[in-house]
């Protein structure tokens, strides 16, 4: 591999120059950012609608927080996500729907309800996940969590070289997915900032993201309001937008293609700006100096 090529998500195809915004809609009462904001289904639907209007390409629906906390079983996770996915699918025929889960049972129900993409942030912990993606014709995110079990925090993690580890693990997962029958045009890799990583690791992965994009696999980055941004800038949760957007721009510049975000309007603007700077998209309107 090497060259980026067309990425297929659901019925849609995306060229390498298109930067895709994945808007987060959590079906949880206790996620780290704005907890419980979209716990209510009606509010969640309103949030999805607004995100699409604001320029989101993908709606990422999750039923379990990444952080440790109250146990959420398979049935409860399905209850939180599948029905809502079906409702979003019914309301928006063309939007790409992603399910944020590491569990194959949840992924199967989510895909049956209309999800196009299985967003596994936990590094392929459940080895039946790829088979579910293959069986459903869905796309799969192959991430790196440093081998940590789902919903655990990194504790004294270290790597010889974190980027080498990310590259090896995500490419191994991608290869496993292809072997399981997942369409290679539907495989995405994600270094998973903060997952199995301290702040230094996440900064290194960001600094050297071009090594991931050089593999040819489309790269997803999920950096929105995360702890590495907070620790880098020494700012609490409500003040992490600027750091998030800086990281987003740097990642886009290095060739990342999907950006998982809470703040849709601002992220869309950053992505559109980077696209124009790269020359992949024209400015919206150029008149200055041309009249």
């Amino acid at each position: 591999m090497g060259e980026q090529s067309v990425l297929r998500l659901g019925k849609r195809s995306f060229s390498p120059g298109q930067l895709l915004l994945m808007a987060i809609v959590n079906r949880t009462p206790d996620s780290f950012f704005r907890p419980g904001e979209t716990w209510d289904e009606q509010t969640a639907m309103q949030r999805a609608r607004q995100a699409i209007a604001e320029g989101a390409d993908i709606i990422d629906i999750g039923g379990v927080p990444a952080a440790p906390g109250q146990d959420v079983g398979v049935r409860e996770e399905i209850r939180r996500t599948a029905g809502f996915i079906a409702a979003v699918r019914a309301a928006f025929a063309d939007v790409v729907i992603s399910v944020d889960t590491w569990r194959h049972e949840v992924a199967r129900e989510a895909c049956a309800a209309g999800a196009d993409l299985i967003n596994d942030s936990w590094g392929g912990w459940d080895d039946k996940l790829a088979a579910v993606a293959a069986e459903a014709g869905a796309a799969l995110v192959c991430s790196h969590a440093g081998g940590q079990p789902p919903r655990t925090r990194p504790h004294r993690v270290s790597y010889d070289d974190v980027v080498t580890d990310v590259l090896a693990h995500t490419q191994r997962l991608a290869g496993r997915a292809v072997a399981a029958g997942v369409d290679p045009a539907r495989i995405v890799i994600d270094p998973a900032h903060d997952f199995g990583k301290n702040t230094w690791h996440s900064l290194e992965v960001t600094r050297r993201l071009s090594e991931l994009t050089a593999t040819g696999w489309p790269v997803l980055v999920s950096v929105s309001n995360k702890d590495f941004v907070g620790e880098t800038l020494d700012v609490p949760l409500p003040d992490r937008l600027a750091g998030t957007l800086a990281t987003t721009a740097i990642s886009a510049w290095q060739g990342a293609r999907i950006f998982r975000a809470h703040d849709v309007v601002q992220t869309r603007q950053v992505l559109d700006m980077v696209s124009a700077i790269r020359g992949d998209a024209p400015p919206a309107r150029a008149v200055r100096g041309l009249a």
Partner: protein, 243 residues
């Protein structure tokens, strides 16, 4: 002999590729294309494009606007980028004019005539007379802007004299009194950043003694520059109505 003439502004934003995703001033572009279509429909052997350039001279008839000078990464409009870029930089006025002709599918051969900003009225008129006498059927595309100082956000900020100056130009064209353009004050035109002055005077020289009726297709200043689009029909020449 001039069989038909058109006046269009020399604004690079007429070139669709230069304005980004959004189509800017489509009514202006459509007016220009209609004027050029009428010019083409008069079946001239040659269309002379006249516009301001840094020096007076005739350009290679195959020259095209180098879009990359305005939007790096873009190519040449309908052509190849010249090998010797420094010497071959086509003035925007001629480049935009050539672009309009290509858009209109004009088959006529081209004469690309640049006129220096300080060319005196008499010399401009003489150039016009030469162009008119060069062939049996000559079409004239005059790429000329009015003042670029028509408002606080205009390229040259506001000069209160602009409105009156541009109104006089519009009136002369509308009434077919093209000879009046010879009297346009060179110093005032320069003060008002009215780059079209030499080209208007070439037009006046080319149509000297001819009866002209005109149609104003556009007259506005959406970006602080006076844009005038007009078709000039020379009496004795049948011309298609594009109303």
């Amino acid at each position: 002999m001039i069989v038909c003439a058109a006046i269009c502004p020399a604004a690079p934003l007429l070139v669709r590729d230069l304005t980004g995703a959004e189509e800017v001033a489509p009514d202006l572009r459509h007016a220009c294309l209609a004027a050029v279509a009428e010019l083409t429909a008069a079946k001239p052997e040659v269309i002379a494009v006249v516009g301001a350039g840094s020096r007076t001279g005739v350009w290679n008839d195959g020259a095209a606007l180098d879009l990359a000078r305005y939007a790096p990464g873009h190519g040449v409009a309908n052509g190849q980028r010249p090998a010797d870029a420094d010497r071959m930089v086509l003035p925007a006025a001629l480049g935009v004019g050539a672009w309009l002709l290509t858009q209109a599918g004009s088959p006529a051969s081209r004469l690309l005539q640049a006129v220096a900003p300080d060319e005196p009225a008499g010399a401009c008129a003489a150039i016009g007379a030469d162009i008119a006498g060069s062939r049996e059927r000559v079409g004239l595309l005059v790429m000329a802007d009015g003042s670029a100082r028509r408002g606080l956000k205009a390229p040259g900020y506001l000069d209160e004299r602009s409105a009156g100056f541009d109104a006089e130009i519009e009136k002369a064209v509308r009434k077919g009194r093209i000879d009046a353009l010879l009297a346009v004050d060179e110093v005032l035109a320069r003060d008002l950043m009215a780059a079209g002055r030499p080209a208007w005077q070439v037009l006046a020289g080319a149509l000297e003694g001819r009866k002209v009726s005109s149609e104003i297709r556009y007259c506005d200043d959406p970006f602080g520059v006076a844009y005038l689009v007009a078709s000039l029909r020379v009496q004795g020449e049948p011309s298609t109505s594009w109303a």
